[in-house]
Amino acid sequence: MRPVMTEDDLARATRRIAHEIVERNHGLEDVLILGIPTRGKPFADRIAVALSEIEGRTIVAGSLDIGMYRDDLDTRPRTRIGPTEIPEPLDGKVVILADDVLFTGRTIRAALDALADIGRPAAVQLAVVVDRGHRQLPIRADYVGKNIPTAATEHVAVRFSEIDDEDGVWMMNGGDS
């Protein structure tokens, strides 16, 4: 198991992404951040904290669980459902989805389906800590912490101290735990 982003790298990337969001959307009017549980949520919360510092007012991130929208339920033994908390109505807003790792793209497809059942955002953008390639669907991220090319058998683990023991990003081979 080897580190590919340290705690500081992660913090710097988060702050940079926050600035990019403000720049791209010309401010934060009608922008809503939603993290995809499990680790998309602490990422979304950290982006919200960074945005709050930039804008001088409190920005709160919500969450969007996609367990009920997965296309692979029949091949997983157990899918846990996490909370969905949408702080304001979605209609007409720019929704920024936040997740830890962008891989096949199927999680984001499920998130787009979930959003469509909840409301009609004006636009949807995507922020991820790591883009590791191997897309199976035409999905791309708007904001990326780090691009890390990987072999399909490798595993990328993002850790947030809100949930895990530490902060950072690690990579391991298929056989590693």
């Binding site: 669980d65 367990g67 009920m68 929208y69 997965r70 339920l73 029949d74 091949t75 997983r76 033994p77 157990r78 899918t79 846990r80 459902i81 996490g82 909370p83 969905t84 908390e85 389906d113 979930a114 059942d117 909840i118 409301g119």
Partner: protein, 305 residues
């Protein structure tokens, strides 16, 4: 978890996981499109050998909210009257391509027999006087939404516990989740050996009222009243009914629950039934979310993986 048959023996984590998921499904039910595609392509059959419109509709709504298809079977319109055995009926329905069966039957153990005979998940919608586990789930969900947790709560279940599958399911679920359960009723309506249960007993509702957080009223089965199991309905109401006078003595944040259908004026007064601290309709709404959580747990995954 392969089947959902009983709350007896479930551990605390299993119950809390189900309640957490039921909360998530509650949120789904508030959306403009209160439906998720999780069980698309699956078929849920409700096999209700005992009449029940409300529970059956609740299960069907739960299945549909998960995008599953539903089929319903009831004995009056069926071949059971032509002498077909329960086993043959179940196998026939299964052969039509059913992925899960919800069963209600007047005899204890019937869902366990189906679980032996069939290769699909079975949900117990009520067997005899034995268990009605989804009812316990929605009851605990309602209590948890109100109080945050069941730990340390004082709950009284009042009425005909001896013949109640709702009571049996609730007792074990509530005790496992940390509540203190008291059974209140005349001796002829309490279980035969209550010392073996995780409960305390009282024959005097007035004596326990002041400390209760939740009063759970069971329907008095009027077919039973009047002379054989207890003297008369008016005497029952006098001693065990949730009258306006008794309600006024409850703690200011105590709630009243009832599994329905209510006998207004017997176990619950007309005004209490409509009070905002009587959460009977919320129980019904939570019933759909609780049943969605059960269906999702049993069908939303590959259990051979």
């Amino acid at each position: 978890m392969r089947h959902f048959l009983t709350t007896e023996g479930m551990d605390r984590t299993e119950l809390e996981d189900l309640l957490d998921e039921a909360d998530a499904f509650s949120e789904v039910l508030t959306r403009p499109i209160p439906k998720v595609p999780a069980l698309r392509g699956k078929t849920v059959a409700t096999m209700f050998f005992e009449p029940s419109t409300r529970t059956r509709m609740s299960f069907e709504k739960a299945a549909k909210a998960l995008s599953a298809d539903t089929m319903s079977f009831s004995p009056s319109t069926s071949s059971l009257s032509k002498g077909e055995s329960l086993k043959d009926t179940a196998l026939t329905v299964r052969a039509m391509g059913v992925d899960l069966m919800v069963v209600r039957h007047k005899e204890t153990g019937a869902p366990w027999r189906l679980a032996e005979w069939l290769d699909i998940p079975i949900v117990n919608g009520g067997d005899g006087a034995h268990q009605h586990p989804t009812q316990a789930l929605l009851d605990c969900l309602t209590i948890r939404q109100r109080f945050g947790s069941l730990d340390g709560l004082e709950i009284a279940i009042v009425g005909d516990i001896r013949h109640s599958r709702v009571a049996r399911s609730d007792i074990f679920a509530m005790a496992t989740l940390g509540a203190s359960v008291t059974l209140v009723g005349p001796r002829t309506l309490l279980p035969i050996d209550p010392e073996a249960w995780p409960v305390t007993i009282s024959h005097d509702l007035d004596a326990v009222l002041d400390r209760l957080d939740v009063v759970y009223l069971l329907r008095v089965q009027t077919e039973r009243g009047g002379g054989s199991v207890f003297p008369s309905l008016p005497e029952y109401t006098e001693r065990y009914g949730m009258t306006d006078r008794r309600f006024a003595r409850l703690k200011s944040d105590a709630i009243v629950l009832h599994p329905g259908p209510m006998n207004r004026g017997v176990e619950i007064s007309h005004d209490v039934a409509d009070h905002e601290r009587a959460l009977i309709l919320q129980q019904v709404t939570n019933g759909v979310a609780a049943r969605m959580a059960v269906l999702f747990q049993l069908l939303g995954g590959d259990h051979d993986a």
